[in-house]
């Protein structure tokens, strides 16, 4: 089924709007970074002030969830947070599409998180990382190993499905309400969508932090 094209597209990518808008967000972040780097001041004002506040809040959250490991993995966490928040919110601009309303984007993000925390676990504990999969006592290991493997494999699935389902569901609700009553009724839902975008970003980022700190801690 071909969807009607009602968004801005570049030739050759008509049916891959999520790629286009991922690039849009990336370019926007590059310009933002260059703009911030140019006029960096000791006494922040304007844009720098806002960004410092956001970064500070994120760093506090990372510290409270991950303890002293928070600062090590802060860059990837903050990158995920900024990208997902902008990707969720860009869908509210007419003519734009949320990259996260496509399962490919969210699955890519979830796989990044999955590979990252498994790699962190192996890097930190070496071969002893397998102890986390074997449960508390040795004679239960035969049963715990498949359960733990399945639960670890379910993590990227649940991360990607949750983000995709939320963003796509919000879009569809706005669409359906817009079909029914085009004038005023979709507006509260749009406000709710802004709220849900922020909440889903927070959930994704907090779960990332929880997974990484789970991979870091010693098996018990």
């Amino acid at each position: 089924m071909k969807e009607p094209i009602n968004y801005i597209w570049i030739p050759g990518l008509e049916h891959h709007a999520h790629v286009t808008f991922t690039w849009v967000i990336m370019i926007g972040f590059m310009f933002l970074a260059f703009a911030l780097r140019g006029g960096y001041k000791m006494a922040p004002e304007g844009l720098q002030n806002v960004m410092e506040m956001i970064i500070q809040e994120l760093a506090n959250a990372a510290d409270s969830v991950m303890g002293h490991h928070g600062r090590t993995y802060f860059p990837v966490i903050a990158t995920l947070a900024f990208f997902i928040l902008c990707a969720n919110l860009i869908g509210l601009i007419p003519g734009c599409v949320s990259p996260t309303s496509n399962l490919n984007t969210t699955l890519a993000l979830a796989l990044i998180v999955f590979l990252l925390y498994q790699f962190v676990g192996v890097y930190t504990h070496g071969f002893g990382y397998i102890k986390q999969f074997l449960g508390p006592v040795w004679w239960l290991a035969w049963m715990m190993l498949p359960i733990e493997i399945i639960s670890h494999l379910a993590r990227p699935v649940s991360l990607s499905m949750r983000l995709f389902g939320n963003v796509r569901g919000d879009e569809l609700v706005i669409l359906v309400l817009g079909f029914l009553v085009p004038l005023v009724l979709p507006m509260p839902m749009i406000v709710m969508t802004i709220l849900f975008s922020v909440i889903q970003t927070a959930v994704f980022v907090i779960l990332t932090m929880v997974y990484i700190s789970g991979a870091l801690e010693e098996a018990h």
Partner: protein, 116 residues
């Protein structure tokens, strides 16, 4: 007695819901539309709405009880607000994700039906 009446009403409602697609299917057949998929889409729509409704109901009950517990805990010990909030957040995300799975299945059935 009241409970029995309620059960009976629910059963009748269920029967009507189940019968509706068949009635529509027979209408379609009467109109001369020869197709393998007579009534198929009605059943798909029914399954989507009922399934998502059940999932949302279950998720709502779970979330309500979770929030009630956390509000109790916060009232007893306001000092640990941040910690409770984080636990509530993660728990709600997990509960919600189960409902979202149903939503994804519903979207699959509606937009990219594998049975078709």
């Amino acid at each position: 007695m009241k409970g029995k009446k309620r059960v009976a009403a629910l059963l009748i409602l269920w029967a009507i819901l189940l019968a509706a697609p068949m009635a529509m299917a027979s209408e379609g057949a009467a109109a001369g539309a020869e197709s393998r998929y007579d009534g198929f889409f009605s059943y798909v729509a029914l399954a989507c709405v009922v399934g998502l409704g059940l999932a949302a109901g279950g998720g709502g009950i779970g979330m309500g009880s979770a929030v009630a517990g956390v509000v109790n805990a916060m009232a007893r010990n306001p000092g640990l607000y941040g910690k409770f909030f984080m636990i509530l957040f993660i728990g709600l995300a997990f509960i919600e994700s189960v409902v979202i799975y149903t939503l994804v299945v519903v979207l699959l059935l509606l937009y990219a039906n594998p049975l078709l």
